[in-house]
Amino acid sequence: MKKIITGILSIMLLLNLAGCGNGKSGGAHVFYYTYSDTYISNVRAKLGDSFNKMDISYHDYDSNGNQTTQTEQVQTAITKGAKALVVNVVNTGSDDAASGIITQATKADIPVIFFNREVSDKVVNSYKNCVFVGTDAKEAGHMQGEMIGEYLLNNYDKTDLNGDGKISYILFKGEEGNNEAIYRTQFAVEDANNILVNAGKPELEFYDISNPNKYLVDKNGQWSAAAANEYMSTALTSFNDANNNMIELVICNNDGMAEGAITALSSVGYNTGSKKMIPVFGVDATDAAVELIKNNRMTGTIKQDANLMAETIAVITSNALNGKDLLDNIDKTYIDKGVAKVRIPYSKYLGQ
């Protein structure tokens, strides 16, 4: 009996494996740092559409936030006969992971397209068939800072709820040790301060002077709505209208955290769509954030264009598969000088 069951199970498993393989061993192999990232999932959906439209066969991998997993997946894909590697590298802290992938790809003479999570110029230059498609990590922070500064200049008195002449802010950081999070945290405040000071206003003031970091970070490194929500509701217990020290500005590293903060604000009667609103700024322009801005519950976000990112990757992949120059048909203004890095521009989004 047991043997029969085992037999049936193994046959099912084999059939399953064959089904997964789809017989497409060549084509593009795409490695995502994690499927759980909302922005990356959006890129994944759009990239799938673009590949289908261009009739490119592809295979997706979830590295699940683990560089070892990813490196092993890349190895396996190469042995399987991949024709192009599209890699959203997990470890961005050092060059080792990315250059390990380059070493493998060079041996097998397969083009590599890194995207989203940045690899260094040195890595990209070390292999002629390598490009990076991403954004300028600093740009989102600068743009958010500029957006906040401009918003405050136009709405200073309205924002300064207690009329002390200063704006108190809270800032939610997505994770420690991630460049995007570091730059956004730094420049959002610095650039806003520059604009304010130039206009003769005082600098922003972190709501809690006893916190030397001047930010609150998601300890799981997930940029999560839940973390922002819990920090926000905790902060609101001692910083509120009743104490005349209400937090007057909310800056978030991404839209997910902004959503969490808005949920906490609305439980104390703010940001429910009426006029009683604390300005909240995010980054990404997720569908949910766009909707919140439309409903007057959020102020602004920085659009990271998933569509354009996916299309650009698809074009480069097609170039790679057809043996053309990798950067054929790519807008030259997006390309960095001296290194094959394509920068998809961010844009401000304050609602239509």
Partner: protein, 351 residues
């Protein structure tokens, strides 16, 4: 046997008499530490014990309590449950997707009218219950350690969650835009103290806790659970259906994760694949801090509540003090370690 018992009892009495004060201080060092910490935080940051802050601590605790109560049952069986967080995640996402407001631009199922909150609540309980049932069934029938079973279901549930998030026109985005019938039920308020509203889910959590207290202490099932936890063979000999008890405990735990997921969906308002991640670890920590022992057969509802509240006090307290996140890990780790060491010590003395 009897002789030994007497000798050890006598020893114990002797020891206690000799070192009563020291024993008392060590056994209660956790409580002493908490009280000292609360006083210190209160002095440095006077808003810590204000009414809004206390209600915040209560509501943060209430959100995690059902999950911890579920896991506590598994721990009493000398098991654990690693799938809890992911079950919360999948229930939160499914609940949210079925309860997005009609006309919300990025609705996952645009043609679906917003369902009745109560129907979705039943669905949430069912999803949690089914996964719990699978956990319990595999543990009991195949004699596998729950660590392995729930490790597997954790992965399976996460896989389904990722697939679920890609369907409809969602493309892996976070699910929000919840219908007001849902958010009002969970985060709305029927009672305020001063200016501060108490969110409704606090009441749900209290009802569930009372229910769980009744199940643990007053029902045959509860007694069987403790019997199986302390010694499954003895329980079996004395006529307890061990298999069925294990299955029930895990199913009940799954249902409680379902409740947590349902509440979480509305409480946070934005649900993604990261929802619920690592929740089980906090819940397990809360249980062991509160004296639910991995030795098996030991634990009280009161302990679970204390554990959950304590972790929340640490979170809120450290946030109030503006202590660096890196240091928060160290403090949390030390507290878990010390709490368990003290707990084990009590148990060894008893033995």
């Amino acid at each position: 046997m009897d002789n030994n018992q007497n000798v050890s009892n006598a020893n114990k009495r002797f020891k206690v008499n000799k070192n009563t004060i020291i024993e008392f201080l060590i056994d209660n060092s956790l409580y002493i530490f908490i009280i000292a910490a609360i006083i210190a935080i209160q002095i440095i940051s006077p808003m810590f014990l204000s009414i809004p802050s206390i209600i915040n601590i209560i509501s943060l605790s209430a959100a995690n309590l059902p999950l911890a109560l579920g896991i506590a049952g598994c721990i009493i069986l000398t098991g654990t449950d690693l799938s809890a967080g992911r079950i919360v995640g999948v229930v939160a996402c499914v609940s949210a997707s079925l309860l997005q407001s009609t006309g919300y631009a990025n609705k996952m199922f645009p043609d679906l009218n917003t369902m009745s909150v109560y129907t979705v609540f039943i669905i949430a309980l069912a999803i949690g219950g089914i996964v719990g049932l699978i956990n319990g069934f595999c543990t009991a029938k195949f004699h596998l350690h729950p660590f392995i079973v729930t490790l597997s279901t954790q992965l399976i549930v996460y896989g389904f969650l990722l697939m679920y998030l890609m369907i409809g026109n969602n493309n892996g985005q976070s699910i929000s835009g919840l219908d007001s019938s849902f958010t009002n039920l969970i985060t709305g308020s029927i009672l305020s103290i001063g200016e501060t509203a108490i969110p409704n889910f606090v009441w749900f959590s209290i009802i569930i806790t009372a229910l769980m207290w009744f199940i643990w202490n007053k029902t045959k099932f509860g007694k069987n659970m403790f019997a199986v936890g302390s010694n499954p063979d003895a329980a079996n000999v004395s006529g307890v259906n061990v298999t069925r008890t294990i299955i029930y405990v895990f199913t009940l735990a799954g249902i409680l994760y379902g409740v947590t997921g349902f509440i979480e969906a509305a409480r946070i308002g934005s649900n993604s694949a990261a929802t619920g991640l690592n929740y089980e670890l906090d819940a397990i920590a809360a249980c062991v801090i509160g004296g639910v022992s991995f030795v098996g057969g030991i634990g009280k509802i009161r302990g679970v509540i204390i554990g959950v509240v304590l972790l929340r006090i640490i979170f809120v307290g450290l946030t109030f003090l503006g202590i660096d996140a890196n240091m928060q890990y160290v403090i949390k780790g030390l507290i878990i370690l010390i709490a368990c060491a003290i707990d084990m010590r009590k148990y060894l003395v008893k033995k």
